[in-house]
Amino acid sequence: MSTDTATPARTSPPPRETRRPGRLRRSWDKHWYAWAMVAPVVLVLGVLIFYPLGRGILLSFTNLTEANQLAEICSKSITGTEVCKPNPNAWEIVGVDNYVNILTGKVGEFWQQFGVTLLWTVTCVVFHYGLGLGLAVLLNRPMRGRGIYRVLLILPWAVPAFVSAFAWRFMFNEQFGLINSLFESVGLDRVEWFADWKTALLTAIIANIWLGVPFMMVTLLGGMQTIPGEQYEAAEIDGATPWQRFVNITLPGLRSVSMTVLLLGFIWTFNMFPIIFLVTGGEPAGQTEILVTGAFRSAFEGIRNYSLSSTYGVLILSILLVFSVFYRRALRKQGEVW
């Protein structure tokens, strides 16, 4: 935690407490500039994230769609006056029906998509972290051309995600894609990448690994540079092998960076919309949809189903919240307060 110029938060009352105006006043005097500094962000997030979230939670208990959202149906009569009568099929509150339908598989393919999402997320994050760590270790050494290697290796990050998705889709094209042409030129068979869910998912995973390694590499590289060089010198004098130095100095030194980027990486990959959407497009037959793209498709194709999309959203959010709560608890058990 940072060293703070103000006293700990515990001693000052929450801002809404009005019974003791003296302390509220003091709290306000002390903290008004801090609140002023965060106010714009809180306002924007409140209006554009938490209001929609609250609305979404409410909607998930209704059956609102594009077709039944009007409470009244109005039609012009021959004389030109408008006649309105209540919509017989207007939306209504349906309780937990949406959740039951999704979780029992009556609507959509929740469990299959959940499985694909887990496979996708875990594979991507493991490779992101492993490759990122490996490259960071290599780049952290003094050597010729380090600056050039670093720029080249970070380059994929500078490419907008939809462009990378498109570039990989182009290279994996079944008729004229580069990968198939290469396969053919070395005597292998062409692969129909998008005919089987395994190879289709593989193309998306490769694209996403390519895309995500630079972020991990850069954060870990920076983390390594905060480890004091004396520790390595001392270890070297004690005769530690490079591997021992890596395990006993580098990895512990990277612990807190790693924990943060792994959690962020998990969340980002879990919700990685453009890669799946543009690279596989769910082919074949929706078998490579992850939860986010699946939600988008079942909710927005055809008649827009607002309540269904909200239910998916609440479910995805709940999964990630549960995951991060357990993640933090596991960290805290090992003495990491974060």
């Binding site: 929609p52 004229f176 986010v292 990630l320």
Partner: protein, 300 residues
């Protein structure tokens, strides 16, 4: 094969010029050196190759783009570029994207810097909760927020405006950037703040005159991140923008992907044109990336 770093190598310094330590390089065996460079060259090739391939393809005429014959460049032509630049609304889209990305960048830097500073320096009530909220906002699937946000934008009369996109992109970028900058500010000693306040600076002045200039690497990374977020986003753009003259590049490019017969030759050229500005911002920010990004992680 040694890890001896020059003592006192701070994150900031070593990102500029790699401090080549002659002594330790001499200690590395030639074989290890070869392995190291071979691995890095291989990795760099994989990193760069897809980009190079798209660039090469963008100079090929249609029949060679869609051919399974392996050619680097055959009958090179600028035809794809001239089509994209002169026969479509591409320049207008580019202008829209530049405006939106720059606005997002400017406002995003300002908002996340003030927020990050407040989070780093003041222990105000609600501080920890705000940090948690930032993490939670990363968990919202954009695809699901689109419709409610669309309704809000419609209520505010912002549909089909640049402002709607700038606001939406800020909600994506600012939480992460605030978090990252908070970590960066944490690495700047508070004694500087104290000195400034003894000299009579208020908190806002301290922030603006003392801390902001010192936080340039962190700011550069924020600039890069916000710019890239706004530059490459498709989902919100496709929901909020309705007329051709307001399209962003990312969304406009979808025009080249009709349902069945994708026009790959134009797509490749457009992809290159889209990537160039992002690449320029990257080149400006890259020297700061290592030091600027990590502080956020170490102190998160």
């Amino acid at each position: 094969m040694t890890m001896t770093m020059a003592p006192g190598t701070t994150a900031g310094q070593s990102t500029h010029t790699p401090q080549v330590n002659k002594q330790s390089r001499a200690k590395r065996s030639p074989l290890a050196s070869l392995g190291l460079h071979a691995t890095l060259i291989g990795a760099s090739l994989i990193a760069v190759f897809p980009i190079v391939w798209v660039v090469l393809s963008s100079f090929k005429p249609k029949q060679w783009v869609q051919s399974s014959e392996l050619t680097l460049v055959k009958e090179p032509t600028l035809g794809n570029y001239s089509y994209v630049l002169f026969e479509t609304n591409f320049p207008t889209w580019m202008l829209n994207s530049v405006i939106i990305a720059l606005c997002t960048m400017a406002i995003g830097i300002l908002m996340s810097a003030t927020t990050g500073y407040a989070l780093s320096r003041f222990n105000f009530p609600g501080r920890r909760k705000l940090m948690m909220v930032f993490l939670v906002t990363q968990m919202f699937p954009v695809a699901v927020l689109i419709v409610p946000i669309y309704k809000i934008m419609a209520t505010l009369g912002l549909i089909n405006t640049h402002a709607s996109l700038v606001i939406a992109y800020l909600t994506i970028a600012v939480p992460f950037c605030s978090w990252m900058l908070k970590g960066y500010f944490d690495s700047i000693p508070t004694s500087l703040d104290e000195a400034a306040s003894i000299d009579g600076c208020g908190p806002f002045q301290t922030f603006w005159r003392v801390i902001m200039p010192l936080a340039r690497p962190g700011i550069a990374v924020t600039a890069f991140y916000t710019f890239l977020t706004a530059w490459g986003e498709v989902a919100y753009a496709s929901a909020f923008i309705q007329t051709d003259d307001r399209f962003t590049l990312a969304y406009g490019m979808q025009q080249f992907v009709p349902q069945f017969n994708a026009q790959w030759e134009y797509l490749t050229a457009a992809a290159v044109l889209v990537t160039v500005p992002a690449g320029l911002v990257f080149l400006y920010a890259q020297r700061h990336l290592v030091s600027g990004l990590t502080a956020g992680g170490t102190k998160g």
